[in-house]
């Protein structure tokens, strides 16, 4: 009896999968759907949440249907692209450096689909990487940190040691040194984007070593760093979106990534037929990277520093200042 029941279950499941698979047709030429691949949960109040908001805005603008695949590890990323392409999604976006190579690899198997990775450097005929000039934001954060520091020691916390994170950390260091050549910049890679406790402890370590301004580039894990700073009464800066609400008295500002602008740029080039594979850099001039308002800390920041920051942003936008992209860590 039990065996028969198990057999029945297996049969039902098999049929369910067979029919589910058969209902999609991938042969149409029109672009009507897009999919997003994320490295963590969609609801992480950070890096991924920003991408989801961008996806929704883009889909609404162009009338596309969407889906999201969450918590896709590096090992599963090729399979994720392949599965979504086979299911019939026309534009597939992987949100993060690690999705670049898989996108280019899978793109040859589905010549009618478009593959996009953010923050990466791989491309093919029908695959492109859209790089947000995060280093521009990090450069401004470096100015802020060095300008606000009294101890002459500041800290920056990275997620994984990978080019998209390293370029922010290195730009932060350069900017801090431009304000105060003697400044000591502590940097820690916690090797996680999700373990909040590691972000917390890394910030605590920096504060114990004398750091009095801390910037985080570690997605969800970095929120722990902001909590640690608030607990110890140290100023800090957020990442991905305006993180002031996490600790209103201590988060000076944040680097904001407007993923909707990136996606709209990509999708409109696909829709009007101008899309070609390649690596595209989008920065402050396209309003893809922005700096959050100072909120209640407006008066804490010296006017001179605020002026320096707004001048720098103008220089970056008009191209007279080019922030270098350094993708391997210096010690």
């Amino acid at each position: 009896m039990k065996k028969a029941l198990v057999l029945l279950l297996v049969l039902v499941t098999t049929f369910a999968f067979a029919f589910a698979g058969g209902s999609t047709d991938g042969g149409s030429d029109s672009i009507d759907s897009m999919a997003l691949i994320l490295s963590g949960p969609a609801n992480d109040q950070g890096w991924n949440a920003v991408a989801v908001a961008g996806l929704e805005a883009t889909a609404e603008k162009f009338g596309l249907s969407t889906t999201i695949m969450e918590n896709v590890s590096i090992a599963d990323s090729e399979a994720a692209y392949r599965q979504l392409a086979a299911e019939g999604y026309d534009i597939i976006i992987g949100h993060g450096y690690q999705y670049g190579e898989p996108a280019a690899a899978v793109s040859h198997e589905f010549p009618n689909k478009y593959f996009i990775a953010t923050e990466s450097n791989s491309y093919s005929e029908n695959a492109a990487s859209y790089v947000m000039a995060c280093e521009q934001g990090a450069y401004v954060m470096g100015l802020m940190a060095a300008g606000m520091s009294e101890s002459g020691i500041v800290g920056v916390i990275g997620g994984f040691e990978q080019p998209s994170i390293t370029k922010e950390i290195e730009a932060f260091k350069i900017a801090a040194k431009s304000i105060n050549p003697d400044i000591q910049v502590l940097s820690i890679y916690i090797n996680s984007f999700t373990d909040t406790n590691l972000g917390y402890e890394a910030a605590m370590t920096m504060i114990n070593h004398g750091a009095d301004v801390v910037y985080q580039v570690a997605n969800q894990a970095g929120n722990g760093a902001l909590i640690a700073c608030a607990e110890r009464g140290v100023y800090c800066m957020g990442n991905s979106y305006d993180q002031n609400s996490i600790a209103p008295e201590y988060v000076l500002t944040s680097t904001i990534y407007n993923m909707d602008q990136v996606m709209i740029t990509a999708v409109s080039s696909i829709l009007d037929g101008t899309f070609t594979g390649g690596v595209y850099n989008l920065g402050m001039d396209k309003k893809v990277v922005e700096i959050a308002p100072y909120h209640a800390l407006e008066d804490v920041i010296p006017a001179q520093l605020k002026e320096k920051i707004s001048d720098t942003i103008e220089d970056i936008i008009d191209g007279s200042l080019v922030v270098p992209v350094i993708s391997s860590p210096t010690k």
């Binding site: 949960p41 950070g46 800290g155 502590l186 406790n197 605590m204 609400s245």
Partner: protein, 311 residues
């Protein structure tokens, strides 16, 4: 000299902070393992405790309610585990793993349901430290160990109680008997399954408190997968501590110490890839395991369901 004392104190504080959730959870695991219940699902128990603790504190505005709910959240998952392992006699490793995935999905879903998808992090004020008179005046150690939040004092108390129960009471002997030889224990008239159910409740309470520590004592907010692997580290801590409550705290502190040491080393700008530093806590765990190699401290019937009518 004073500077050295400061460094020691900050390392101790960091070790204790990271050891607290691990040791709370590990105490529960050690108790269940003594009774022969292997709980790979500790990660799920902690996550459930972290979630229900936070959500109760958020809506009631009371951290006390949060702590109680955290413990109840832990019990919820550990009781599913107990039912599957004791009554249904399922493979305990598989059930534990399944529960970890189940809880990750459940808490993420409920969190989304309650707070929706947004970039504003819902939060509560975290537990305040309580400074104990006299004890906190001990130089270096006092401020670190005796100016802490209520969950850490619960941890100290639990270590003493567990130690006495394990090694000084008849209750501990019965517990050991159920884990080492359930048939003999049954013949002697001890309720094998009843003892195991109770051990699962205790495991749930302390796993739940360990999870609640993360959301209520440390961060004051919840995010998906906030426990991120600490349940598995707690299982390692039990083995490192050889099921001894005092050694469990010391092992957890050793792992916490290794973590803050690697961060300190990174800030010194030593030209090594950061991944080499991140390995340190696990490297130390493996070395300690090697050094303490010998007879396993796990009971003989760990993870094996007791079936009265079979031999």
């Amino acid at each position: 000299m004073a500077e050295l004392m400061d460094i020691i104190a900050s390392f101790l504080a960091s070790s204790l902070r990271q050891a607290a959730p691990l040791s709370l959870a590990a105490l529960g695991v050690a108790y269940a393992e003594k009774a022969g219940i292997l709980n790979i699902g500790e990660e799920g128990i902690m996550l459930s405790g972290a979630f229900f603790g936070f959500i109760a504190a958020y809506f009631s505005g009371s951290l006390f309610v949060g702590i109680i709910s955290g413990a109840l959240g832990g019990i919820l998952i550990s009781m599913i585990h107990a039912f599957m392992c004791i009554k249904v006699k399922a493979n305990q490793t598989i059930v534990g793993l399944a529960l970890n995935f189940f809880t990750l999905g459940l808490t993420s879903f409920l969190f989304l349901l309650v707070f929706g998808q947004n970039t504003k992090l819902p939060s509560v004020a975290s537990l305040n430290p309580i400074t104990l008179p006299v004890l906190s005046k001990i130089p270096v150690l006092g401020p670190v160990f005796f100016s802490q939040n209520i969950l850490i004092y619960i941890l100290y108390l639990a270590i003493i109680v567990f130690f006495v129960v394990f090694y000084k009471t008849e209750w501990g002997v019965r517990l050991t008997a159920v884990g080492e030889n359930p048939r003999a224990a049954d013949s002697a008239g001890l309720g094998v399954n009843a003892t195991r159910y109770v051990s699962c409740i205790i495991n749930g309470v302390f796993g739940g408190l360990g999870g609640a520590y993360i959301t209520l004592a440390q961060l004051g907010y919840f995010q998906e997968d906030i426990v991120s692997g600490k349940g598995y580290i707690a299982l390692v801590v039990v083995i490192l501590g050889r099921h001894n409550p005092v050694f469990i705290l010391l092992s957890a502190m050793l792992i916490g110490f290794a973590e803050s040491l690697q961060f300190s080393l990174q800030t010194m700008g030593i030209p090594l890839p950061s991944q080499a530093f991140s390995m340190l806590p696990y490297l130390i765990a493996v070395i300690v395991l090697l050094l303490s190699a010998g007879k396993s401290s796990s009971p003989a019937f760990l993870g094996i369901p007791y079936e009265r009518d079979k031999r």
